[in-house]
Symmetry: C2
Subunit: 307 residues, 2 copies
């Protein structure tokens, strides 16, 4: 009997044409946005269903390329106007970045409409958008089994009550160290994690950039390293790639136990490491199974616990 | 045949009575200094031989306590005057610290004199002191087999040429991320490590605080996680404890291959985690084999690679 094809992952998030000032150069209209990075990463493991909005300036060949990777773009609205743009400048060591400009454009009126064919999906990734929109997505889903959400400091500060409602309805929150500390109002990572888990999510994934990630899962704490890169060009989208790969792996496995999640995290840090090696989605687009496998072997060799 | 007793580790460094402003309170005349933390950590694995200087104000019972742990204090000079004091204030999240005052006192004229009985030691830890003094120590040793050295931004900036001479003569450099980047004048960790390894040391250990440590060892890169603490009181001495435990483990093993070093790093991050749980050396003084074993098991459970 052939292996059943993996369940799809519904992904909602931003789609963007970013202007990036990077140590390696300045780039205009770089295809990006959380939904794009996540869907590309998911599609390495499972079909992705994408929900977002772009303007007429968004290259149709990018959507064609996503479809060729197994991304269903039925949920992508193409509307009059310009695509969302984030313009940012990274520090010379890539360790920090500043926003130079944010043009919401067609994203300003984004109200996610989940196509009928997407509403039964069991795996859902709520990218970093307004928590009220994340709730709107959930209200359109029939019986999601594993909902993961990302968020950011902006919503933690400004939309806390909506965010808390999201937290009550998701299985897994995916945020970085600083966001965790901010959300929990507690510096210590373990205590902060316990506090956030008491707000609703059953599992918490803490992204720690080049250091890896932590999984807090019902009393279990797991540590997953990141692959140390020799070439770092652009961290944009690394977190979104991480989340997309995590959901894709889980969907492919069809299981959500701790061991599966732990493996999913290893794959997620590895996919994210590729993302950083190129500008925008350039490197992510090149990744295939053999490359991923080779890097996973390297990561295993360097991170196998000896004690 | 009984197991041979481990070879001793010679440790040279500062001995101090620090004034600490910590989130958990202010503390005066806290026993510290790199040699003290390192010797206490080493003594969990192997005998330590300590070389340093204190004033008459240094509590004799502290030296008694060190001797009771298997630390040979023959190399500790007690001279007229006051002991070295560092006064510092930690940020409320312990993530940064500022120096309020540095009183070199008797440490100003420190010229390490290695007792005859210490000169044959094969394992040597050069704590964070002036690189010219580190060289003086090496000139007094007969045939050291494994010399590890720590340093800091102050010497990297101000005493680069002396430090480069040290690097040519040691087996293992133990520094943190930022010091590595500063020494190599390169932000990327892997490229920075390659550059520093070309300066002389055969192995490089990069401390990454709460994230763990990296070992670069002749083409091999290993990643070692740190135990995530629920109680963090005082990071002072964590790096020195790490280095002391690393050398102690290596001396006990009597081997310096990559696998041994990797295990040594796991023990080192674990001993350092205890250090942070108490003010000064308070918690480190309580650690015994069973506590260490239990925490190592926990660390193994959370860090075992699944991929």
């Amino acid at each position: 009997m052939p292996k059943p094809s993996p369940a799809p992952v519904l992904i909602v998030g931003s789609m963007a044409l970013d202007d990036l000032e990077l140590p390696c150069g300045n780039f205009k209209d770089v295809v990006g946005g959380s939904a794009v990075f996540s869907a590309m990463a998911t599609s390495l493991f499972a079909p992705a269903q994408m929900v977002g909005v772009v303007g007429r300036d968004f290259p149709t060949k990018v959507l064609d390329g996503l479809r060729a990777r197994g991304v269903d773009t039925e949920g992508v609205e193409v509307v009059e106007g310009r695509t969302f743009k984030w313009a940012g400048r990274y520090a010379s060591n890539l360790g920090s970045r500043e926003t130079l400009d944010t043009q919401l454009n067609v994203f300003a009126d984004f109200a996610p409409k989940i196509p009928e064919t997407f509403r039964q999906s069991r795996f859902v990734l709520l990218g970093n958008i307004h928590p009220a929109l994340q709730l709107e997505v959930l209200s359109q889903m029939q019986a999601p089994a594993f909902v993961a959400a990302d968020t950011m400091n902006f919503w933690i500060d400004g939309e806390r009550s909506a965010l808390l409602r999201v937290l009550e309805r998701i299985e897994c929150l995916i945020i970085n160290d600083e966001e965790l500390r901010q959300l929990a109002e507690e510096h210590n990572i373990r205590r902060a994690a316990a506090k956030v888990l008491s707000m609703g999510p059953k599992r918490l994934v803490v992204k720690r950039g080049e250091y890896g990630a932590l999984l807090f899962d019902q009393g279990c704490l797991c540590f997953v390293p990141a692959y140390p890169l020799e070439t770092e060009l652009d961290p944009t989208g690394a977190g979104d790639s991480f989340a997309g790969a995590l959901l894709g792996y889980v969907a492919r496995a069809g299981q959500t136990d701790t061991t599966t999640l732990r493996r999913a995290l290893v794959h997620a840090t590895t996919v994210a490491s590729f993302c950083v090696e190129g500008v925008g989605t350039a490197r992510l687009a090149e990744v295939h199974g053999d490359m991923l496998g080779a890097r996973l072997s390297e990561l295993r060799a360097l991170a196998t616990f000896e004690g």
